[in-house]
Amino acid sequence: MSELYDVIIVGGGPAGLTAALSAQQNGAKKILVLERDREPGGILQQCVHNGFGLHHFKEELTGPGYAQRCYDLVKDLPEVEILVDTMVLEVRKDKTVRAVSPTRGVMELHGKSVVLTMGCRERTRGAIRIPGTRPAGVYTAGAAQRMVNMEGYIPGRKIVILGSGDIGLIMARRMSLEGCKVQAVLEICPFSNGLTRNIVQCLNDYDIPLHLSHTIVAIHGKDRVTGVTVAKVDEKSRPIPGTEFEIDCDTVLLSVGLIPENELSRGLGLQMHPLTSGPIVDQRRETSEPGIFAAGNVVHVHDLVDFVSDEAEIAGKFAAKAALGAGGGAARDLAVTTGENIRTCVPQHLRLGAETESVRLFMRVTQPLRGKLKLKVESGGEEVFSKPLMIAKPSEMIAVDLPEAKVGALTSDLTVSLTEGN
C-alpha cells in the first residue's frame, strides 16, 4: 500500500471517527482511519454507563451507544476506509505514516494531512509511588473496567479505590452492582476530582465512604493484596503520623488521572504544552507542524465526550481543507495565555486570516471556586468578552464561545482569567 490519502487519522475512537465524518463532509475524497484495537470506538466501548451524548446527539446514550453512533455515521461512506488491528508506529513531518497489522504487515502510507486522535491512557502506580510490597490485585480503574465490562471477569471481591476521579467513582458503582464490596474511596486532595453527580449516584447510593485528604501509605500482602494502611494528609499532601488506619481488601484500584498518549507526537517533534501534556494547537486544531492536526483526549483530557466530538469536527474540517489546498493563510498569530485561576486553555493560540469564525475556548481552573464568578477574556489589556459563572471545578472543563465578530476584530494576544466578585 503506498497510495496517497487526503486525510489519514491515527486512532479510531470518537475523536477519530468524528474527524473522519467531518473531513468527508468538507470535501475530502480519500480518508483512512487506523485503529490498533480489534474494533473502532476507542475507550468508550468499556464505559457501559450512561450520561453521554446529551449535547452532541441531543440524547442520553451509554458509552458503547455513543461509539456506535459515531461508527454508524461513517461506516458506509465510500470516502472513508477504516483499518482495525493496525498500530501506527511513526508519523513523519512529510505526513508519511508507518503502521503494522497482522494481516498486512508493515505499511507505509502517505497523507496530504494527518489528524492525531490517539486518546489518553491512565496514570499507573509508578506515576504516583506507593510504598509497600507488589502483590497481585493492584489495577488501574480503567484496566478493571475493561475486565468487568468487556472480558467478563471480576478482579476481586473487596475493593479499595485510590483517587476520586470519575472512572474510579463509576467503577465503585459497577463493582457494587456485580456483588463486590467497595470498602472506601480515598482522595489525597481536600476536594473530589469527580463530578458531584457521580459522588451521589456511585458512592452515596451504595453507602461507600469517601475519605478526602487521605491516601494509601502501604499496600500489604505477599502474593495477593490483603489490605492497605491509610493515613490523613496535611495541606502539602504529606501523611500525618498517628492518623493511620487499616482497611481489609483483596483489590486496590487506582483512579489517579489520565495523560494524553503522545509518543507519536513527540516522535514528530511537535511543540507540546507542559500542563495539558498534549500538542499545542491553534483554533483549527493544527499543531506546530503544518498539515498535522490533533483532537480529543490526545490534545487535553476531556471529561465530556461531546466536547471531544466538537473538537474532532473542527480538526477534520480543517484537515480536509488543508488537503484540498484551501487552508487559507494566517495574517495574525495571537497567543492565548492563562491568567488568574485558569490552569489550561485550548487552543493555545489563534491563527487568524481573512476568514474568521467563532472560536470556542476550553479551560480548566486551578482550584474549586464558587459564588459570583466572572470568566473574562482580555486582548491588549481590554476586556473583549465575559461570562458569569456560579461554580468552577478543576474536574469540569469550562467552554466559552467567542463570537465571530469579536474574533474578527482581535489584533493582540489574549488572556483568560476567572475572578471572584464582579
Binding site: 480489534r38 474494533e39 466501548q45 457501559v48 454507563h49 450512561n50 446529551l54 446514550l61 451509554t62 458509552g63 458503547p64 451507544g65 461509539a67 456506535q68 468487568v148 465490562n149 468487556m150 472480558e151 467478563g152 457494587s176 452492582l177 456485580e178 456483588g179 463530578l195 458531584t196 453527580r197 459522588i199 451521589v200 449516584q201 447510593d205 471529561d303 465530556l304 456560579m390 461554580i391 469540569e396
Partner: protein, 123 residues
Amino acid sequence: MATETKVLNCINCPLSCELTATVEDGVVTNVTGNFCPRGAQYAKEELTAPTRMLTSTVRVKGGRLPLIPVVSAKKLPKGRVVECAEALRSVSVAAPVHVGDVVAANILGLGVDIVASRDMEAV
C-alpha cells in the same frame, strides 16, 4: 405538622446544583438552589420516589466479544436497581444483537425493559 429541610445535589447535569427542599408531612413544598426547573422536579422525585437508570452487561453467545453492554429503557425505582443487576447476571443472549434489542423484558415485573446498547456481530 412536621416540617423538615433537606439538602441534596441534583444529578441531572454536571452543574450538580445544591438544592434545599422543604418537606411538610412527606410532601415537598418548596425547592431552592436549582438553576433550572429540572432540579425542582428531581428534588420532588428523589425525596418521595427516587429512580435511577441501570447499566450493566450480559453474556452473549457466539458474538465477537463475550459480553454485551445493556441499559434500562427507562428509570427504575432506586431501591430495586441492585436486584435488577442480580437478575441480569443469569441472562444470556445469542449473537447477532442490535442496539435497542430487548435482552430482558419487563425486568422483575417493574414494567421496564433492559435493552442492548450496541450491536454485536455473530462470528
